[in-house]
Amino acid sequence: MKNYSRFWLLCLLLAGFVQSAMAQRTITGKVTSVADGSALPGVNVVVKGSTTGTSTDAGGNYSLAVPSGTITLIYSFIGLETQEITVGSGRSVVNVEMAESATELTQVVVTGYNQTQRKDVIGAITSIKSEKFKDIPVTGIDQALQGQASGVQISQSSGTPGGGISVRIRGNTSISASNRPLFIVDGVPVYDGPVSGRSFGGQEDNTLAIINPNDIESLEVLKDASAKAIYGSRGANGVVIITTKRGKNNKTSITADVQRGITDIVQRPRMLNATQLVELQREAVTNAGQDPSQQGLITGVTDGVDTDWVDAILRQGVLQQYQISAAGGNDRTRFYMSGNVRDEEGVQLNNRFTRYSGALNLDHKASNKLNVGANINMSISRNDRVKGDNFLDGVYSGAIKSLPFYAPYNEQGELYGPNSIGYAGFPNFNPVGQALLPRFTTHGLKILAGINADYELVRNLRFRTKFSMDYNNAEEDQYEPSGTAIGGFLAGVGGRGYGVYITSTSYTLINSNVLTYYLSLNDTHHFNALLGNEIIYSQGRASNVQGRLFPSDDFTYINSAGIVDAGGSGFSQNGLLSFFGEIKYDYKDRFLLGLTTRYDGSSRFGQNRRFGLFPSLSAGWRISQEKFMESVGFISELKLRGSYGFTGNERIGNFQFLGTWGSVTYNGATGVGPDNLSNPDLQWERTREANIGIDAAFWDGRFTVTADAYSNLTDNLLFAQPIPLTTGFGSIQGNVGSISNKGIELTLSSVNVDRAVRWTTDLNLTHNINKVVTLANQDTLFRGYSADGVGATNAVLEGQPLGTFWGLKFLGVDPATGDAIYEDINGDGRISPEDGQVIGNAQPILFGGFNNRVTYKGFDLGVFFQFMYGNKTLNFTNATLINAGADIQNNQHVNAWRRWKNPGDVTDIPRYELGNTYNNFHSSRFLEDGSYLRLKNVSLGYTLPARWVGKVKLSSVRVFASGTNLWTLTSYSGTDPEVSTLDGSTTAQGIDFFTLPQVKTMMLGVTVKF
């Protein structure tokens, strides 16, 4: 308690600032909008060169006592062009019309618990307006960020609708804790983990896909310490602030959006046909000294059936989205409401994501000093999922490798099951059946709601309080009938049907209270102070039940299960208590200084480290405001920025610090046993961040440049520290190890042509170097998939980035023997796991986005490219699809056709010999350049002339066509370099393991405003 009292004392002092000007006459007037003549409440009216001022009331009226003589009044409001009006001694009524500010410099930037104008920003903050992604049919808000902001690396893990998306801001900072940024929607930190509790083969689903991106007004990405320190122990991975649309003080506008299109896989895998496969398999068997005919491989017989399995499970999906929204208000009440339906068929059979959402935002001015508001954002989703990736019983994954010698349906038109006569045995499962038969439905519900009040205690001192909730619920309703792998093949699991039902609920309650104070001294010194506290409580509940041995496949719910043999329930909670403050100061708009601090206490930290302090300091110099720059007319803005500070990552899991005992059972008797040893010193992972940047604008903002360079070091990494096992424990959770991220970011915006044709270009580039600096000990940690001949596909080791690929180094194929040659680094004359080495990493050298927009009369054209350069992608699929004959249970990729056949052949694919695993050891043979340039979106729109639509009482009509992922430039030999089978993994990113490629979308849409 003592700790905070000083804090609050400060705010009381602030409250004590009172202006006491000597009033000699009174000026009254009304401030209105130039656009529609409506009254503007809350506009600041200040006498220039003094602290005398007021703000307009709900009717836009003001009354101000001013000194006698000629004075200058300054009218300012965030988002509006500031006006200065000279008032002679005889004038007593001044009415003002204010216009929205057009320039980038005065645009509003939301900075955590406050907002400011772009020109005053000294942190690294990227703002993205909704126009940037409105024509891209993104499912979720995270997807909307892809390619739009420097420093922000977004990868969609696969083409599954509603699927997981990896978001990294300025690199990976953690090995064990989460690397995802903090997503804040209208002040509420939202749950962003997977909805589902069951693994579907690497691919997770994504809670953020349940929030409708069409309700978003803007996104701000906070990237450096000065911007993020206000989020303290949750800021290390960056913060994405999402602001939803709100009503404006004008006449009600109703907007209807209709979008409809088709989706298709960007590229299909190229597999051998049955005849080619028979020939290759015969060769492999013959090379092993066996008779292929005895194995049933007979040309002309075995290949009598030639099924294109990929074709059998893929389709063109239909994507449709409908939205209707209304926004408007008057000088007292403003509102925004919307309803949205989105329905996306996956390209895999039976895969579909449907979402219904609604939003209502209200703002009401209760009095001159009190504003109240509310926001409700509700969505329900239904995700019909299919298995994939490393699951043998996946759909796309099963289809690629399935032998073409078999058909999905028998002569009676029935699907072959896992034990059917006439179908390939293990590990082949009929992928068509695996798509059509199971029921994997995940029902999601998300409610974001909040109420807030804003009261002006005295002029320029405002108190804002907000109560919010983020509620997430998921129910997974699953049944795998006896014709599927789990439901039928594995007697120990399903045998006769397998049903699962999982529920999970998590909610977060947040209360934040903020005081803000603005002070201007002689119009020279400007202070913006903020002081606040926040209490966050989160709770999670889950239950699951599993049943098997169903009477028949007509009974698919667990009520009918013969055995209900597994079930459970769980509960978890955590709390965060914070105090924070911020002071921003500028001297004559030239020198800017910022000090931000957050003091966070988390239930996740040990008793000795319960509270952490996260300070940051920043400074800026607007060179363009200096006298000597006046002569340099083409530079309209030039600002140098620098910041230094600390942020943390508190997503280290609950109760890791606590010595705990868990419950056990022994033949019906219940007991306890120690689970963890306590570590009262366990704390957050800490990131020290330094950033310097420059903002420049030329020719009145025609051309703008933002460049940043940063150097971040994360230490106190959460790590299981090995301790002597004789203690009875394997490890203790400790804070050891460090990771660095250094990089540069560049954003260019240009208005190339601004006449009848307007052509704008945006380019952003990021270069990030990630490196593991120290680990708990020098041992290499192996991660990713286990691999033949070398242990694992990925490694974490000092001096290398996260996402480092491990393996043998493939030196080529011996033209004499056709065998693979690997580097024998320890020179012991044989290839063993000791010859494993670093073979590359998944981190790009450069990534970014390139966006062009051209408008001419009613036409608008957008062309948006996104790229990654220098990253490696592990084509782990080829360990199965170009397996050099290790087995003959899988179809092979067309590139297998160029394998070594005869002495003297020079090729990169070893010879095929059944059972020879040596030639298929995990090596750099499977590692490829994953660089790509992708035409992420191209859209062409036409806005009908107003005189046409006016006749039918419409205010505007726009029709457009949009295509995503239409074209990709890459040397990657797999289907798509933009995949990651272990969705969300930090240590094993960029692995393509039967992962469904991205989809391309072609869509038509119309937007009608009433």
Binding site: S603, W661, G668, V672, D675
Partner: protein, 455 residues
Amino acid sequence: MKHIVRNKFSLSLIAGMLSLAACTNQLNVEPVNTIDAGAAVATSGDVEALLVGAYDALGTTDVYGGNLQRDAELLGDNGEIFFDGTFVAPDEIFRKSMLVNNSQSSETWLDSYRTINIANNVLANLDVVTSGIRDRVEGEAKFIRGSLFFELVRVYGKAWGDGTPASNPGIPLILTPTTEITEEANVSRNSVAEVYAQAIQDLTDAEAKLPAANGFFATKAAAAGMLSRIYMMQERYADAANAATRVINSGRYSLVAAGDVFDLRVNQNGFNTAEDIFAIQITDQDGVNSLNTFYGAAEFGGRGDILIEDAHLDLYEADDLRGTLFYEGDNGGIYTSKWLNQYGNIKVMRLAEMYLTRAEANFRTNASVGASPAEDINLIRVRAGLAPVSAANLTLAGILSERRLELAFEGHLIHDLKRTKSNVGSLPYNSPKLIFPIPQREMDANANLQQNEGY
């Protein structure tokens, strides 16, 4: 100014309320599926729950859940079985070529010490246990701890008969519970003799304090039986015969019919027979029978990793009922039926062993404690459907052969070979290859440990 004052007041009020709420409960959220270790042991009931936890830990796969027994057979085998599995660790053990990073070596080490730590927690909190059951609780904890010290020392240390036990490194003796990590956690290895002495002391205490009947938990006889094993390793035959006699004379156990010794049912919860002195309890809800996992064919829930070779099958006489305890799996391999039921109990000790032990001990000392060697051996032989042997025809080799056939695949092989100083194939009984390495991971974490010879 009045206006201002009112605002000041409301602000301080707000500040006060917030801070109050903060201090009281915001950060003291409690875990739910686990409990704070500091609050775990307060009542007698807590200690009893802890004791159940110790049994649960004792029954994990890496301890008496089967791997300890499996590894004794793999390490001692000379062509009677074949390890056909893909797991590296048991394969290295089977081939007598363990590496320092063998995962089973570290799992056995960890899970045994984990169990010992729970037992130590029980022993450190005996003062809160209700006096009426305190002796029993102490006896059970000491049975568990003493048994594991004995198991560990014979896995990680040289055999008692190999060199000087007083100077051969054994394993660290941990006698107090771990509450925090300090420099003292970096323990050293006690000598083989010290570990044996501690195990004997624990088990002697246990035998004195345990009741004769105690459900499926440890009993007086279980402690006595474990002592007989220790004495046999130490070649203290008279003590071994006496200990075995105490078990036999307790009258609580009896030999069952040949077909009832092992659980030949499928997929049903395990049970103890009248012959079982101590067994790990397995049900379809709880526990894993790791011997089924490795010895059982796929159709009975196992991995089918351990195949029985003709070299073993040929050891049985034609009429030996024990020779029928084998079956052919769907894959054509021959498997033992002893671990057929995947939910069957794991027999750690059964009465037949006591007769075999007493017979051998009496034979070696030319004594007849309790009964003559021939009488004891013939109890086993007759039950197996074989003709009795006369005292004149009874040899030590015959007794050992009977022991091998009766107790095959139950975890005795390597230990019997070591105490009888018999070769394993071409390896002498004291080969370093027949001793587990101290886990490399443990060597890395604790600089005070000394690695075994040959690693």
